[in-house]
Homo-oligomer: 395 residues x 2
């Protein structure tokens, strides 16, 4: 893939950033792209903002995840467009455009790892690195019909990845097919992907109930195949407090952490931002300490709940997003409605830090929508194996 | 002046906007520039924002003030850089750069009419149109050592001028010398500039006390010459409630009006903004109704006070800004300190709507700082005459 081949606006404008991988390795022959939150030695990391590079010296080494893929023989084909400083979930960059979602024309690709998802969906690369704090891999994976993973929080080194909200930040990745997804996952997880497990599977009725009815119906065949693979499945509740409360907790923690991350940059450079990005930071700065204390305690409850649901190799499935990709160019208040509903389903990731894989394969009116599988902390490889096995069985 | 002659970044990048004036008239032979808040037929009005032109059709006619100057024989030489949507007082545009203040190298030109002031100060044009809501002509006039006027609010038609806070918005202009200032003022005020009056002159001790000591001292010779011209002067208080209260009232009214002006644009386009511009709009949106009610009542007190001080042709003099131009590139919190102090002196303009002229001629450490003269509503020509007479006597 050459940058000239990028007709979908997935890659950053300007000089192409290409690095050849090791001449051999488990990913030899594959190509990848890296969200512009990852350092590539000798190239500025833009983080989607024209004013972010002013704050940092030129990277002298590759980000950990970039180096892992290069060492495994994968070739870096370019850096991809992202929502500014990873603060966005729809993938509309006012500075670098909206990468085309080939699976849902006229619709957003999802964000913030928008260009990475679009590049993989279009076939410009085999895999791509993203980041996921509040849904930034899971959501574009759902909207673009891709495998995508948010690994266990804290498992992968984040060196050379621009932070946002450290207690939720993760490095994730995308793939179109289960075989590639397993190969890349094995490298980045540093662990062989095992044979598919037969987990105790919980189908989160409250999460399905929050999704559009058409989405819940479209995902039903995937759920049934997962149940068959697992041997059984039972309905269960994800969030006894209500998913809206989980979302509220996430919105009380993540934006404040993001403000603390970017406060010094804002103070020093008064950077250009999309209005909603500035609004998010200012909102984060103004979250009362009591709200953050409440959210931190609820987070402990969420972790207890997720540990219980995923005990003994158990897994939970839920819709990744409540709807397929919304149209491009919505008004701010219309976008807010979509974003808030997404957070109801995505908050579990940032709050609990469990590994979560988006499994593609369903559509509503031709638009992709994904099913998520969550496993216990550290069970990333098992979740990958389970998701890939179902897809491979289906194929 | 050609755009190629613009070495100071005063004019907008891109295609030059030039319109020949009428072949004769009172301003024949002069050139002017227009802040990019004024419509010029056939050219997009940018208002300093890359996303503002999206909201409007291409102007089909010139703004009223542009047409007046063209009709008087003045040639339009270009459109000038402005702080975004006129929300800025220092003149540092993250999108279009910082016009060079030739009178204060390394320092800001003042804003939001930054490019207009810089173009006049450098001699690229004879005069230039600006707008003044909270100080956007007066402050750059002070920082760049220029004559500048904020006319009586409501006196000049604002057709074709992008609004900000309508109850405070005015069209103003700059000139380097008193003769040009009088010629241009006569055209835009639609009234001959009379012989210099001998006003009852009040020297606002509270405003001088808020300025830097060095500024107050530097302005003293100008005050003494004004007093000589007037025949006498007496010390008096501008703001019995305190200038900080007047500033608070202005900050309770103007940002809310600005939010109402831009709310629909923000909602529809989610535009790119400098962080502090977004912060200002969001702050405006969140001003409690009770605060706005209080400010509206205080505004009535301010108007009563200013009517009293300027009764029977009386005028008031005060420092236009508390300090000369600050350095370029300050941090956000450092800028905030400067902005808040400026508002203490500038708030009277937006609150009372009286005509106010900045008179150049003083410096602190070589940096210009101006003296303001305020007259009664409608006495614009008298204030212009008084200010110009002092400068001409001095010359």
């Amino acid at each position: 893939m050459t940058e000239a081949g990028d007709r979908i606006g997935a890659f950053l404008p300007g000089a192409a950033v290409k690095v050849a991988g090791a001449g051999s390795g488990p990913l030899h022959g594959l190509t990848f792209a890296a969200k512009d939150l990852f350092d590539v030695a000798g190239h500025p990391t833009g983080a989607g903002s024209p004013d972010w590079p002013r704050s940092r010296a030129l990277p002298e080494r590759h980000a950990w995840a970039v180096q892992q893929l290069l060492d495994a023989g994968c070739d870096l084909a370019g850096k991809t467009v992202t929502d500014e400083i990873s603060l966005g979930i729809l993938g509309e960059s006012a500075f670098h455009g909206v990468p085309v979602n080939v699976r849902a024309p006229g619709r957003v690709p999802g964000g913030s790892s928008s260009g990475s998802a679009a590049a993989v969906a279009t076939g410009l690369v085999d895999t791509a690195l993203g980041t996921d704090t509040g849904g930034s891999v899971r959501v574009p994976a759902s909207f673009c019909g891709l495998f995508g993973i948010r690994p266990t929080h804290g498992r992968l080194p984040l060196d050379g990845m621009a932070p946002q909200a450290p207690s939720s930040d993760t490095t994730g990745w995308f793939a179109r097919d289960p075989a590639t997804f397993k190969r890349v996952s094995a490298v980045l997880l540093g662990e062989a992907i095992p044979l598919a497990p037969k987990p105790r599977l919980t189908v989160a009725w409250d999460a399905f109930g929050i999704a559009d009815t058409a989405v819940a119906a479209a995902l039903q065949p995937l759920v049934e195949r997962l149940a068959a693979l697992a041997g059984a499945a039972e309905d269960g509740q994800l969030a006894p407090q209500g998913l809206s409360e989980w979302a509220r907790a996430q919105r009380s923690l993540q934006p404040y952490e993001a403000w603390k991350t970017f406060e010094g940059w804002v103070e020093r450079f008064n950077p250009r931002m999309t209005f909603t990005v500035a609004r998010g930071l200012i909102g984060g700065a103004n979250i009362p300490a009591e709200d953050r204390k409440w959210a931190a305690l609820l987070r402990a409850d969420v972790r207890a709940r997720m540990a219980w649901l995923t005990r003994d190799g158990g897994m939970v499935c839920l819709p990744t997003t409540p709807f397929p990709a919304p149209p491009i160019g919505l008004s701010v208040s219309a976008m807010d409605v979509y974003k808030d509903r997404i957070t109801c389903l995505a908050a579990v990731g940032g709050l609990a830090g469990h590994p979560q894989v988006n499994l593609p394969g369903a559509t509503v009116d031709g638009l992709p929508v994904g099913l998520s599988i969550i496993g216990a902390r550290g069970q990333d490889a098992q979740v990958v194996a389970f998701a890939a096995a179902m897809a491979q069985e289906q194929a």
